[in-house]
Symmetry: C2
Subunit: 323 residues, 2 copies
């Protein structure tokens, strides 16, 4: 995609911390009018930042936990961004407006940027939008970027894979627990948060989680997944959750050579390649369907393979990639 001069200006303003430029850029992402790989050099080297995934079943209290995390991050003076894709979250407008405002203690804080994401016109899906939006936020100087999803499908797991640290939020209900296990949340959790910890069954849930997360590798430098108790109403335990996130960051930093960091990055690059090239394939197909190769298609003596070869040639493709 060609980088036009208005896009250059927008990126420049975004890098200077202009919130409206950031909001506009994310809208362009959603509309498919901004291609991050093309502007990557303009964005410059990534600022040090932490991407934190928060996932769990609907009603687990993700939003109130995030509210408290934002508070602890703001106490540090850092800029915080939230990208929400959970349709049941008050951040994405799933709840009524009153709720939405009530829950967002940080609604009027200029250093907190909250955005719900959709993929209106863009190809490649919501996980691509989320990754690209997080990248823009890093360039805009956000120190913490929180990704909120409801833990159900592959798309949500893909989004969580974008995070450095993943918090899985559960409430003491065995049904939720089973669902979370089935959804693959056990495998992606760096930290478990049992919310509404005053409820019956909290202790049993903690025990079950301990049983499931105990690693035979413990003591050999592996991360032992902590299980924390919180209460979204009074915020108890949430400071500890924030400090555990920081501890996980230090762990990642120390163990960069040992695999997890590399695996995450490899996975991310893989996802990026698949998404970017899939979008291009879709463009190509739309062109094919738009009657461009009609004459060849109507002639049964011309094989589809030779039309395919012609399409590749027409697109100026002579590189080694598909050689």
């Amino acid at each position: 995609m060609e980088v036009t001069s208005p896009i250059r200006d927008l990126i420049e303003r975004l890098k200077q911390g202009d919130v409206s430029a950031l909001a506009r850029s994310i809208t362009l992402l959603e509309e498919g009018s901004l291609d991050i790989p093309s502007v990557d050099t303009l964005l410059g080297a990534a600022n040090p930042s932490l991407t934190i995934g928060v996932t769990g079943p609907p009603g687990a209290g993700k939003s109130s936990l995030i509210d408290w995390l934002i508070k602890h991050m703001r106490d540090e003076g850092a800029m915080v961004g939230v990208l929400a894709t959970d349709p049941s979250s008050p951040f994405t407008g799933g709840a009524i407006l009153g709720d939405r405002i009530r829950m967002q203690h940080h609604f009027l804080d200029e250093k907190v940027f909250i955005r719900s994401l959709g993929s209106r016109g863009a190809q490649g899906g919501i996980s691509r939008i989320t990754r690209d939006a997080a990248h823009l936020m890093r360039a805009a100087g956000y120190r913490y970027i929180i990704l909120e999803t409801v833990g159900v499908g592959q798309t949500e797991l893909d989004i969580m894979n974008l995070a450095d640290t993943v918090l899985v939020v559960l409430v003491p209900e065995s049904g939720d627990f089973m669902q979370a296990m089935k959804a693959g949340l056990m495998e992606i959790a760096d930290i478990f948060v049992v919310n509404k910890a005053d409820r019956d069954g909290a202790k049993q849930m903690v025990n079950a989680l301990k049983f499931l997360t105990e690693s035979p590798e413990s003591g050999t430098g592996a991360w032992q997944v902590p299980i924390l108790l919180t209460n979204g109403l009074d915020g108890s335990g949430t400071k500890d959750a924030f400090e555990t996130v920081r501890r996980h960051t230090v762990f990642l930093e120390h163990h960069r050579q040992t695999g997890q960091f590399l695996r995450k990055r490899q996975h991310g690059l893989k996802q990026l390649i698949v998404e970017q090239l899939s979008v291009k394939i879709e463009d190509l197909i739309n062109e094919v369907l738009a009657d461009r190769y009609r004459a060849e298609l109507m002639d049964p003596s011309v094989s589809l393979y030779s039309i395919f070869n012609r399409v590749m040639q027409d697109k100026g493709f002579t590189g080694k990639l598909f050689g």
Copy 2:
């Protein structure tokens, strides 16, 4: 993929009708060592041929119908090929050897080539292998190419999309009927064959199918899906089935301009593009995972986008396709 001299020789022999060259080529396809777009010019213009899909639930009698169709085709003197992907079919070795031989009346006929397909080492799945194998058979002079699948999943529907004419084979059992409807067989049928027509319920099934296939467009040049009764044991109705296939071909020929032919070809080209490029993307990803970009991946200050851009550059990609 580079076309080596042994491959050139193989294609040359195949075009001269050498059955062992055809068999070997299909094995190479399955192993991922033969790339049809690269050899398409060597294969030359496609011979006139008919590709006939035969699908339906397991036990519907697809194989015995195919056996009879082969007979009628051979009575014309034409060469016939069968590509079977139904794992329950005797053609693919799903049944015991005795069955296999008993059912293949044409086992010793040199002009009948029967092959069960798998996708051992090849990327892109069994529908790609089937399409490419059918293309090789056309180059080898086969007039009729029968594709047999069990009607269950998307892969099987993809294979049926490769056929000019699709026969859906059912037996008079309401369970099978419901399953076939759910599997999307109603939409792809050009001809319905109710096999084991002597069984109870055959008439009701025919009535139900008539009800479902009656098109409001009838009389305006649309194809009215015929519903035929056959008996695999004595072959009754199978000659009619064959003649209906021929009638459908004439219909397609007459209505080439009206859409169905173009839609099939567009769909085929789309599938080809997706498959071919997906395979290349997978190759690219394997390279990325093979530690080639390890240094960049280990450095958190290098963004994944810039690594992506470097990967594209390294692959010599400077064309407009991804511009």
